[in-house]
Subunit: 594 residues, 2 copies
C-alpha cells in the first residue's frame, strides 16, 4: 500500500518544531470530540502526540475524522502548533504542542478490542496471553520489553569489551545428565533416535575451553521439561559464560561488573562492588535459605547454647540431637492476636516446622505458652540474644533436623518480611553464597548426588575427604543471589580426566553410563584441558528483578502458561498421521487406571 | 587446583616489556631441543610466545621441561628478554622477544593427538568433527570463530544505534505453513500433542509489529527438517528483522548499512551503497538464476530475434514456442578440445539442457557442428550480439521452456566461472533481486503456490490481476544476493486481514486450514496492524562469505554432518523406554519393503 511515511515519531515533537509541517504514523490511543473539534492521541513506541481536527481549518478532513476509533492506524500530516495557554500537559513529553491536521489516511481499522490498551488492565491473564499482541501494546509491557532489550545491549557490549568470544552452542544435542527433564526431538532420518534440547550448554561451553576459546559468552535459549510450577517456563534464557585459567574470584569480578553495569545503565541504580560473600552454612544459619533476601534484616538467631540444658524438652531435645532451635525477632509485633499467631503457626507448619513457639516481650515479662518451662534467666538470655525489646514478638522453631528447622524459620521470615512490607522496593541486595557441600545424600536411593552438577570441582583442600567423608567435601561453586532470587549459579569445573572419573564413580555412575552420557567431555580432558570455570545467569529472572516484578511472564514476549500452553498460537497441538509416520512414531493409548 | 595466573596473554609481549617478570598460561604448540636449550612455543587464543628453558639459568626447571609434549597446558613464569640478534621472527607479533623461564607448572597433560593442531590439516572432516575441540584449536578455525563473534557485535551495535528492539520469539511454536519440514517436540504434559520448532520467527515478528514494537531484531536459531543436501544444517542462525511503516526501500537501506558495516569492520572491505538492483526477469535473462554471481561477467545473451527465422529447427522451434535460445561467450576458449566440449555438454545436460551448441570463433570462420544450418549472416550476428572475438568460445542452449534454458545456461556459466577461476576472491558483488512473481503454478497438484511465502504483499499495481492472471502478479519481495548466494530474503507483508484471506483463498487454503495454521496472525490484523516488512539474513552463510569459505560447517562451532549427525556427542541417539513412556510414544516397526 502507498502511504505518507512519518517525518517524526510520536514522542519527539517539541515547541522547537512549531510551524513545521510533519507526518506522524501511529495508533489512535484515544479520541475526544469537543465542541466540534476532534482530538486524537496518536501513539507509537516512542510516545503520544495530540493531533487536532478543526472544522474551520479543513472541513472535509474534520468530517472524515468522525470515523476514527481506538487503535485505528493512521498517517496524519499537519502543522505543529503550541497548545493554547492552560491546555499544556506537563506529564507528556510532547504536552506543549499539538498537530493541526491537514490530511490523514487510515492505514488500517480496528474492531472493538477484547480489553483496553492501558496499564491498569483488568483482563484475566489468560485473555492477555491469547491477545498478546494487544497486551504488548500497553505502555508498561513495552517498557518491560525495552528494558529487556537494554539488558541484551549491556551484555553484548560488556563482554565484547572484556574480550569474550560469542559462540553459539548447538540446540540439538545428546541427552544430558539430567536426562529425565530433557525435551526430545525425534529424528526423521534416523529411525528411533532423538536429539535432546539443552537444559544448559554446560558440556559444550567446557568443550570450548578445551578448544582454547578462553572466554566465551552466549545469550542462549535453554529447555527443561519440568512439572510446571508457578513461574517456570519450558524455554528460558541464560546469559552463559565460561573462562579459562581462572579461579572463582575472576568469575565473581566479571559477573559483578556485569550486574553493576546493568543496574546503572538499565535502571540508574548505583551499586558497590565487590558484593557480599556468605558461606552456605552462614546463609542457612542466619536466613534459613541458600538464597537469603537481604533487603530486610530479621536474621535467625540459633539458641542452642541457651536452651540445650534448659530442661524444656522440645528445645533441649532438638539441641542435643544435632538439630537446632532457631528463630527471629519481629519488631513491634507483640500486639499480634491469638488468631494471628495461630495463623502464623499454620504457615510455619506448612514450611515444615513441627510447631511454632512465640514469645511476646511485654513490659513486665515474656509472655509465651512455653514461658512456664523456661527459667526467667533463660528467657532474658533469649530476649537479649535475639535483640528484642519491649513490644517485639519472637518466633522460634525447634527440630532435631537442623536444616529442617532452619528452612522453616527462614521461610517464615520471608513470609513475614513480605507480609509486613519490610523489603525496600528501591533497594537491591546482592551477594554470593559460597562453600556449598559437594554432595547430598539421597536417602531414598542410597546414593550420593551432586549438589550443583557433576562437573563441579571439589575445593582443593577437601579432596582428601572425598572417600572418607563425602558429606564434608565442599564444592568450588557459587550462587549469585539477588533480592532473594538465585539469579546465577556457577562453579570452577573439573579439568582433569582422572578427577572427573573419580567424581563420577563417587556418584555411582558405571563406566558405561559415563561413556554414554559424558564420554566426549571426559575424552576431551585427555588432550590438554585448561583450568576453567563459569556461571550462568537467568536472564528472564534478572530482567524481572530489574523491572521490579515477581512474574517472569511479564518480561517474556510470548510466554507459555504454567501448564506449558501457548494461548496465542494454540501450541502444543495434534499433528497428522503423515507427520507421525515420517517420524516413525505412534501415540500410545492411554493406560486404563486400575 | 592452585596455579599461578597469567599476567599477560600469549600474543601481547613486545620489546617494551623486556626485563619484566611475567606469567603466561597456554598450550605447548611446539617444542625444540637445541644444544641443551629447550624452546617451547606457548599458544593461547591471542597468539604464540616463545619460552626458553636454559640449563645454566635454572637446571632443575630445565630438567623438568624434558617432560613437556605438544598440547600440554602450562603456567610459566619468567623474564622477558630480547631474542639474540638474527633470531627474531618478523612473522610473529611476539617475534622479537622470548621468555627465559624461572618456574613452570604443568596444569594438564595431553595424550598423543589424533591429528596435529595446524592450519594445513590432513585429517578427514569426520575425524575433525569427532574431535571438534582439537579442530577448533587450529588458528584458522579460531580466526573464523572470532570473525563470527565480530559479526554478532556489528549486528548488536548497528541495530541498537538504529533504535531496534531486540525481542526473543518462542522456540516452541505451533506447526507452521511449511509444516512438513518442521522438527517436532512431543509434549509430556499434553498427551499426543507436539510443539514445532520455528523454521523462522515469521509470524511472531509480524505479531510484534501488530504489537507496536516498530523495529525488531533478533539473532535467532531456526530449524528445518530437510532431506539433507550438501551444506545444509538442521539448525541454522538468522539475523531476523522487521520494521513498521516502511516500504521496501527502508528495508534495503537498513540492510545495506548493516552489510557495509560488516564488510568494513569485520574484514576491512569498503563497499558503496546503495547496492545494484535487478529484476527477477533480468536476472534470469542475463544470468539464468535468481542469485547471480556478479563477481565475473560472462552474461547470457538471448538470441531469439536472431534465430527465430533462421530455419535451424532446434533454435527456431525454441524461439517460436515461447522458449529461448541463450548462451554466453567464453573468452579465449576456442582452444577447447572436442573432449572438453563433450564434457561441457554432459555438464549442461546435468543442468537440464537438452543439448549444448558450441561455436568457436576462428580467424576465417565460425566453427560449429551447427554452422551448416545457419547462414553466415546469422552466424556473424550471433558473434556480434555475444561480443565474441577471434579465439572465443560460444556456448548456446535452446529450449521451448524459457526458464529451463536460462537455468541450464546460467548453471553452466557458473560452472565455468568457477573452473576458470573468473571470480576475484577479493571482490564482493552485492545486489538486490526484486520483482519476483507472486505465485508459481504447481503443475502436479494443480494449485498456485507462493513463490516467497503466504504473508508477502503483492505489488499494489498488480493486485487487479490476482484473479485474472495470477502468474503475472509480482510480489513486493526481495532477495539480497552476495557473491552468488542468497544471503537474505524478505518482503513487505500483507497487513490487511481481507487481503490476507484473499491470498490464502488464491492458494487454495480452506477456512479451516487457514484458522488452524495462521488463525492468530490473521485475527491480529483485525485490531490495527500497521504496514510492515522485513528481511532475514542467513548468518552462517554471511560469515562463510566474509571468511571466503564455501562450507558453512567451517564457521559453526559444532555442526552436524550432511546426514544430521553430531560426530562429537553422538546425537541423535536412542532413548530408554521410560522416556518414551513419559512422552506417550512408541517407535513404529519398520514396514517391510514389498
Amino acid at each position: 500500500m502507498t502511504f505518507t511515511k512519518r517525518t517524526h515519531n510520536c514522542g519527539e515533537l517539541r515547541t522547537a518544531q512549531i510551524g513545521k509541517t510533519v507526518t506522524l504514523n501511529g495508533w489512535v490511543d484515544g479520541r475526544r470530540d469537543l465542541g466540534g473539534m476532534i482530538f486524537i492521541d496518536l501513539r507509537d513506541r516512542w510516545g503520544i502526540t495530540q493531533v487536532t481536527f478543526v472544522p474551520q481549518h479543513n472541513a472535509e478532513v474534520h468530517e472524515r475524522a468522525h470515523e476514527l476509533r481506538s487503535e485505528y492506524v493512521l498517517s496524519i500530516t499537519g502543522t505543529v502548533q503550541g497548545r493554547p495557554e492552560g491546555q499544556e500537559n506537563k506529564d507528556m513529553a510532547t504536552g506543549e504542542i499539538e498537530i493541526l491536521v491537514d490530511e490523514f489516511q487510515i492505514l488500517n481499522r480496528a474492531e472493538v478490542l477484547p480489553f483496553e490498551i492501558e496499564d491498569e488492565v483488568e483482563a484475566h491473564e489468560d485473555l492477555r496471553l491469547k491477545y498478546r499482541y494487544l497486551d504488548l501494546r500497553r505502555p508498561l509491557m513495552q517498557k518491560y520489553a525495552m528494558l529487556r532489550s537494554s539488558v541484551y545491549q549491556v551484555v553484548h557490549s560488556y563482554f565484547a569489551e572484556h574480550d569474550f568470544v560469542e559462540v553459539e552452542t548447538p540446540t540439538f544435542i545428546k541427552s544430558t545428565p539430567e536426562g529425565a527433564r530433557d525435551f526430545l526431538v525425534p529424528s526423521r532420518i534416523h529411525r528411533g533416535k532423538f536429539y535432546a534440547l539443552p537444559q544448559s550448554p554446560q558440556m559444550y561451553k567446557q568443550i570450548l575451553m578445551v578448544a582454547g576459546f578462553d572466554r566465551y559468552v552466549q545469550i542462549v535459549k535453554c529447555f527443561r521439561d519440568e512439572d510446571f510450577r508457578a513461574d517456570r517456563q519450558p524455554e528460558f534464557t541464560q546469559i552463559d559464560l565460561e573462562m579459562s585459567f581462572v579461579t572463582a574470584e575472576d568469575v565473581y569480578a566479571i559477573t559483578e561488573g556485569l550486574v553493576a553495569r546493568m543496574l546503572k545503565e538499565c535502571i540508574g541504580y548505583d551499586v558497590q562492588t565487590p558484593f557480599l560473600r556468605m558461606s552456605y552454612d552462614d546463609a542457612m544459619e542466619q536466613y534459613g535459605t541458600d538464597k537469603p533476601d537481604l533487603r530486610f534484616d530479621m536474621k535467625l538467631v540459633p539458641l542452642n547454647d541457651l536452651v540445650v540444658n534448659s530442661g524444656f524438652k522440645v528445645f533441649a531435645d532438638a539441641a542435643q540431637k544435632g538439630g537446632t532451635v532457631t528463630g527471629f525477632c519481629v519488631k513491634g509485633k507483640a500486639e499480634y492476636s491469638r488468631k494471628q499467631l495461630d495463623e502464623l503457626t499454620e504457615v510455619a507448619k506448612k514450611f515444615g516446622a513441627g510447631g511454632l513457639v512465640w514469645m511476646k516481650v511485654e513490659a513486665a515479662e515474656m509472655k509465651s505458652p512455653v514461658a512456664k518451662f523456661l527459667s526467667p534467666e533463660i528467657l532474658a538470655q533469649i530476649q537479649s540474644a535475639m535483640g528484642a525489646e519491649e513490644g517485639d514478638l519472637l518466633l522460634i522453631v525447634a527440630d532435631a533436623d537442623k536444616r529442617k528447622a532452619q528452612k522453616a524459620a527462614g521461610s517464615l521470615r520471608l513470609h513475614l518480611g513480605k507480609e509486613l512490607g519490610l523489603c525496600d522496593p528501591n533497594k537491591h541486595a546482592l551477594l554470593w553464597v559460597v562453600d556449598f557441600p559437594m554432595f547430598a545424600y539421597n536417602e531414598e536411593e542410597g546414593v550420593w548426588e551432586p549438589e550443583h552438577h557433576a562437573f563441579t570441582s571439589p575445593k582443593a583442600e577437601d579432596i582428601e575427604k572425598m572417600d572418607t567423608d563425602p558429606g564434608a567435601v565442599r564444592a568450588d561453586c557459587y550462587d549469585f543471589v539477588w533480592n532473594g532470587n538465585e539469579a546465577a549459579s556457577g562453579s570452577i569445573r573439573i579439568h582433569d580426566s582422572a578427577m572427573q572419573t573419580k567424581i563420577f564413580e563417587r556418584l555411582g555412575l558405571s563406566d558405561e553410563e559415563l561413556q554414554e552420557k559424558f564420554g566426549f567431555l571426559v575424552e576431551s580432558f585427555k588432550y590438554g584441558a585448561p583450568p576453567h570455570g563459569g556461571i550462568a545467569l537467568g536472564l528472564d529472572r534478572v530482567v524481572a528483578i530489574l523491572a521490579g516484578l515477581t512474574s517472569i511472564r511479564e518480561v517474556i514476549a510470548f510466554p507459555k502458561t504454567n501448564t506449558a500452553l501457548s494461548l496465542m498460537d494454540g501450541s502444543p497441538s495434534m499433528v497428522d498421521e503423515r507427520a507421525l509416520k515420517d517420524l516413525h512414531l505412534d501415540i500410545r493409548k492411554e493406560e486404563k487406571k486400575p
